[in-house]
Amino acid sequence: MLDHNRTQAALKGLVFIFVLILPLGLAPPSVAAETQEMAGSFIRSLADQAIKSLTQKDTPRDVKIKRFRTLFNDSFAVRSIGRFVLGRSWRKASKEEQTEYLKLFEDLMVVSYVDRFSRYAGDVLVITRTRAENPRNTTVFTKVKTSSTGKPAKVLWRVGSRGKIMKIVDVIVEGVSMSQTLRSEFSSIVRQKGGKVSGLIEELRKKTKSLKASGQ
């Protein structure tokens, strides 16, 4: 009787292993492969979209900015990046400061990246491989052949995913991460302003204003 119980327990254990543990080991690779594929085609379609909407020479800059803003908000995790870039200061900022900061951050990104992005988009982008970093993050490795220099640039796109929704969380050009660089820069400004986020907001306001006015 006792033996029988034991066997049953062992069987239950086995079933438990098969039902719970095995899928954990088996399912992720296929899910990851699917996510990787999705991330790749996400970047591909983004590049195609950018070529269509940003590379015509006769489009005025303010129209380009408008289009890029839509594209940027649709395909980048703007708020998450903004928050990451502010680092520890995010928590020190008041609700109003956070809102204003995020608005200015989006502005800065749009006006300072529109030219760079249109330039990259006009060039040939080739996806070399994709790599799953963790269940939610995929890196899409691309080579971008710029027209100005002979050697193609290595551009990595960090894509975060949640189900079917994909957003770019970072762009790494030749080993230099956009988020990382902004983070060091912003923290340096906050430090210079005596640890105040309001000081950074002031600088951001000045910068975006001058960038909009300069409009190449």
């Binding site: 998450s80 975060g160 400004i189």
Partner: protein, 242 residues
């Protein structure tokens, strides 16, 4: 050693004179190097620029090989030797990088990277006069690379110091010309150009030391935190309307 902590540590610690030296370097760049690089880029046909770039790269082969070997990267060392032999002969004294066309791509190495591979810490971030962003490890690396470079030995032994100066000048102009646009854009959009360059330098070095193999642990923003909800809803709408 190159965990995110180390990276940020390097960014936080720095010599107080750094900003001043950076400003002087920037002035010198604006007065001399940048105008020359611009003229070089605009007035030299791309073909000749590429040939000069290839020749300068080829001249670095001995130093690269030295460091490949010291880092125990034998495959890369062999590639460096083959590239040097092909490009110096068939490539007409290195003017044509035909090894790359044959599928043997080039890479760079320096003694600063070798020291890093050996586990020597980088020390504080230092802006050197004229040479720009560096740190004690990379500064030592620069000196060692200079001393072991057969080109410099040859020039020194045959009283051709001008060859060393011309090569350095050519390298500076070539390098500056390749980065003209990128640096212009960065300068324009930066809130703190010094901080941007410092971060750029630290990241570039980490990338070079790991031979361009980016870490999966690279700290990056994740989606799915607080602000995520709104964007998620927006995208879902976008998906629906498509």
């Amino acid at each position: 050693m190159f965990c995110r902590k180390g990276m940020f540590l390097g960014a936080w610690v720095g010599f107080p004179a750094n900003r001043a030296v950076f400003a002087v370097n920037r002035g010198l760049d604006a007065a001399f190097l940048k105008p020359v690089a611009m003229a070089y880029r605009d007035m030299t046909p791309q073909f000749f620029q590429d040939r000069i770039n290839d020749a300068l790269d080829n001249l670095r082969a001995p130093v690269i090989l030295f460091n490949d070997v010291l880092q125990g990267e034998l495959e890369r060392a062999v590639a460096t030797v083959i590239r040097f032999l092909i490009n110096s002969s068939l490539g007409l004294l290195g003017l044509n990088d035909i090894a790359t066309d044959m599928g043997i791509e080039g890479h760079d190495e320096d003694f600063g990277q070798t020291l890093a591979v050996w586990g020597i810490p980088e020390g504080p971030y230092v802006v050197l006069p004229l040479f720009g962003p560096s740190n004690p490890r990379d500064a030592i690396g620069m000196v060692v690379d200079f001393l072991i470079d057969p080109f410099n030995t040859w020039a020194g032994n045959t009283d051709r110091n001008y060859a060393v100066y011309s090569r350095s000048a050519a390298r500076a102009v070539d390098l500056r010309a390749t980065h003209l646009e990128t640096l212009n854009e960065l300068e324009k959009s930066s809130l703190d150009f010094y901080a941007s360059i410092r971060s750029l330098y630290l990241q570039r070095r980490i990338n070079e030391i790991s031979n361009g193999d980016p870490s999966a642990n690279w700290p990056a923003p994740g989606i799915g935190q607080g602000p995520y909800r709104e964007t998620k809803l927006k995208t879902q709408e976008a998906f629906r309307t498509q």
